[in-house]
């Protein structure tokens, strides 16, 4: 097990370096000189040159890349061009809000997704099944920003039940979590339903029923346990897509998390900040996938770690 973990972590390193390279390359070839943008139009050309030199922006691409990599390995992602603060500080300041949002959205996804998947499976091909599946399909299909604005309009503006934006109270997390979690809930519901239906066809379910067990015990105690294996892994993987969805959700609900940082960095062409945020998120996703893989192999002994 330990060997497997070490191997997976080691494999992650070239993946991460590859990602850093691609991001670095892409952000360097997009048009637009960040220095001119940052310094404003009043600035004198020689000051711009001095700044480029100080920031090492005059070096060849590959030199810049290795310098960046060297510093990044030491946790130094550089200084934000616009906000003039350490990128790592900005990331760690914003990260807790994103974690809160992602986890609460994940809770919503699980709490809605799993039960509706079960109910849909048990009541297969009934109106209830169709209803639940339509509901989850809506979640998958609706863009986060649209659903977000709609909910704000109804629950905050029209009904006045919840604050339009914010992140300091638990009430303000209700709408963003639902908006963000809904899409994942759909995926989880569908996966739970199809797995459960698959498992329900097995001999041991028939045996359980033959023993005279109650239907609830058969479904929850026997079938669900087995059906949940892929769902659990899916949930871990979904955390990474929630991180992606958080970008829009944070912007709409005024949550000062990583997504907001990334969006404003794009608008400002704040390369160090954008690079830092993307790389940090990549690390989270790699870690999420690693956990998913480990869980899978632990939960299902048929899958060998090697």
């Amino acid at each position: 097990m330990a060997k497997y973990i070490i191997k997976r972590v080691l494999i992650s390193i070239p993946v991460l370096i590859g990602v850093v390279f691609v991001i670095f390359f892409m952000l360097n070839v997009v048009p637009g000189d960040p220095v001119t943008l940052m310094m404003g139009e009043h600035i004198k050309p020689d000051l711009i040159e001095a700044f480029r030199e100080r920031m090492g922006l005059d070096d060849p691409f590959i030199v810049q890349f290795f310098n960046y990599l060297k510093n990044a390995l030491q946790g130094d992602f550089g200084m934000s061009y616009k906000l003039k603060r350490e990128v790592s500080d900005l990331i760690f300041q914003a990260f807790p809000q994103t974690v809160k949002l992602t986890l609460s959205a994940a809770m919503v996804a699980w709490l809605i997704g799993i039960p509706s998947g079960i109910i849909a499976a048990v009541k297969q091909n009934t109106l209830i099944d169709r209803g639940f599946m339509t509901f989850s399909l809506m979640g998958v299909s609706m863009p986060v920003f649209w659903a977000g604005l709609l909910m704000q309009y109804v629950f905050a503006y029209k009904l006045g039940w919840l604050p339009v934006t914010g992140y300091k109270t638990w009430q303000s997390f209700i709408m963003p979590s639902i908006v963000l979690g809904w899409s994942s809930a759909g995926t989880i519901a569908r996966l739970t339903r199809s797995n459960l239906l698959e498992i329900m066809k097995n001999d041991f379910i028939r045996t359980a029923r033959a023993k005279g067990l109650r239907e609830t015990t058969v479904v929850v105690g026997h079938a669900l346990k087995n059906a949940m294996l892929p769902v659990v892994t899916m949930m871990a993987i979904q955390v990474s897509s929630l991180l992606g969805g958080a970008v829009m959700t944070e912007s709409i609900f005024g949550i000062p998390g990583l997504g907001r940082v990334a969006v404003s960095a794009i608008g400002d062409r704040d390369m160090p900040l954008l690079q830092g945020t993307i790389i940090f998120t990549t690390m989270l996703i790699i870690a999420g996938n690693l956990i998913a893989d480990l869980m899978y192999s632990v939960l299902d002994p048929r899958i060998r770690c090697e």
Binding site: G32, T36, L103, V164, P256
Partner: protein
């Protein structure tokens, strides 16, 4: 089976540790930032983008907080609709030598910074020198660069400002390189707030970024700044002019204008700035609930189109005049800004000192435009390019309207979109084809308009490439006219000559600044100039809960 439970337990522990970890971090961060601030008497405003700094020397765009936490030597204040005056600030009085070269400022005594330190002449000297030293990287040197020795400091060859002399603790003497009639006005700009020498030096690069280290003498002090979330300033109880009636002002960063509007309508904000959603102006103005809460003010600024005289056929004055006449400015104003503004025929907008209400009108006249084009040798029109930066839908709508209007005289316009950085870079090289943007007064003087666009050098950097050297030189010479009436007369003559006779730019209109306020906010006013949204210290502004 055991392994399974172990794994689940592990996952649970991991999940919980992440949750609890983030919980404690957030709690402490919030705890020291807003120890239960009550918003009962705080004016809550919104803004769409996060700002880079609250150090007024380091920004050319964001002055809301610098305006309120710092004081300047002199202040520009609205005295009537569209009129402003220079009044004493940290300088209680001043004398100008007859040749206009030496300004002697008597400073207010007994004024304290927010941290209790005394304000003296030393702070003025420090602030001005900080702005000019290249290592500061400041962006607003222009406003104090008329002082003798500024260039040497900006070049890095001098460490002290030659033209600034401390006579005693409360007297500062400034000697200029050449007479500059707009000098006082330019000292009233938000970029020239006075800093506390000791605190600012200690703060280093944190100044303007960390609230508690950003200290001034203004009516409010900087309480907190949570990036991408909220900035709060609270009232300075010991303010030398008297504490403001509000307990403070907060600015919430709301990335989305629709969200901001909903926040306003749900009572989470006190002011909605219609600049963020011009299309909503009609909705608010016609809504029973809001029409009495509408505050309208003039913005001392102008929308315009440029001509690059290096690009043919714009070297020909007849072509330029034809285009001036072929654009229906009123219809652009009506369609894009709900008609809320005024069509202009010059460069100086109403509200600016020296504004000429009697300037002849540039008429919308397609027939005359066609005749002029034919006379210039383009009876069937020509092809031209308008360039804009990519992510500006407002600019695009304006350009598309002009494209359609110019088609009526046979001029075929291609709208070219480039990214913002390229746009600025090409413009600085004098190579940008026609473009449209707006200019708002930094300080209340015609110099801020005519010199910025038509002085030699400036006219190339903004891609006008204005060719009439005699007029360009007169723009520079006007700065040194010491008799104010004569100076204003010269600016009006220059405006007529450059904008109308030479047709060097296409004036469009000035736009009103419209705010909708909450029921509880009373006495909200639009402040005098280009920075119409920034000045919130005046009598009558208060909250009634």
């Amino acid at each position: 089976m055991k392994r399974k439970y172990l794994a689940l337990l592990l996952a649970l522990v991991m999940g919980l540790s992440v949750l609890s970890g983030c919980g404690s971090e957030t709690a402490s961060a919030e705890g020291n930032k807003d120890e239960k601030i009550s918003y009962d008497n705080i004016m809550r405003l919104g803004e769409v983008t996060e700002v880079d700094t609250c150090d007024g020397q380091m920004t050319t765009e964001y002055y809301d907080i610098p305006f309120m936490i710092f004081d300047r030597l002199v202040e520009a204040t609205s005295v009537a609709e569209g009129k402003s005056d220079i009044i004493p600030g940290l300088a209680k009085s001043w004398e100008i030598s007859p040749d206009g070269m030496v300004y002697t400022f008597k400073l207010q005594e007994g004024v304290k910074f927010h941290n209790g330190k005394d304000f003296t002449a030393e702070d003025v000297k420090y602030t001005f020198e900080r702005m000019l030293l290249p290592e500061t990287g400041a962006k607003n040197q222009d406003f104090i660069s008329p002082i003798k020795g500024s260039q040497a400091m900006m070049d890095g060859t001098a460490k002290e400002l030659e033209g600034l002399e401390i006579v005693d603790d409360y007297t500062v003497k400034m000697t200029l390189e050449a007479p500059f009639g707009a000098f006082l006005a330019s000292l009233a700009t938000p970029g020239v707030g006075i800093y506390d020498k000791e605190t600012t030096m200690e703060a280093g690069t944190d100044f303007g970024l960390v609230a508690e280290k950003t200290v001034g003498t203004g009516p409010y002090y900087f309480k907190s700044w949570v990036l991408n979330d909220e900035k709060i300033i609270l009232k300075n109880e010991n303010y030398w002019r008297g504490a403001p009636a509000l307990d403070g002002i907060s600015w919430k960063t709301v990335a989305d204008a629709d969200t901001m509007r909903m926040m306003f309508e749900s009572g989470e904000l006190d002011v909605f700035d219609c600049d963020y959603a011009p299309t909503q102006i009609g909705y608010f103005m016609s809504n029973e609930k809001y029409k009495d809460n509408t505050v309208v003010g003039n913005r001392v600024g102008i929308y315009y189109y440029t001509f690059n005289q290096n690009i043919e056929p714009f070297g020909d004055v007849r072509v330029r005049k034809a285009l001036q006449m072929a654009i229906d400015r009123q219809s652009i104003l009506d369609n894009l800004f709900d008609g809320r503004g005024e069509v202009l025929s010059g460069i100086m907008p109403p509200g600016l000192v020296g504004y000429n209400p009697n300037l002849p009108e540039i008429k919308y006249d397609l027939e005359a435009a066609k005749a002029l084009l034919a006379e210039a040798g383009y009876p069937d029109g020509f092809e031209m390019t308008i360039t804009q930066s990519t992510d500006s839908p407002d600019t695009l709508s304006r350009n598309e309207m002009v494209q359609a209007q110019l088609a009526k005289i046979g001029v075929k316009v291609t709208i070219e979109q480039v990214d913002e950085a390229t746009w600025y870079a090409v413009r600085a090289d004098g190579l940008l084809p026609m473009y449209t943007t707006s200019w708002s007064a930094d300080f209340n003087d015609p110099d801020n308009f005519l010199y910025t666009f038509f002085a030699p050098g400036n006219t190339n950097k903004r891609s006008f490439n204005f060719k009439n050297e005699e007029l360009s030189n007169r723009v520079v010479a006007a700065r040194a006219i010491t008799d104010n009436d004569a100076r204003m007369a010269e600016y009006q003559a220059l405006e007529k000559a450059i904008i109308q006779d030479e047709a060097a730019w296409i004036p469009l209109f000035c736009k009103q600044h419209i705010f909708i306020t909450s029921d509880r906010l009373k006495g909200f006013k639009v402040s005098w100039n280009g920075w119409t949204s920034t000045w919130h210290y005046y009598e009558g502004l208060h909250i009634e809960n």
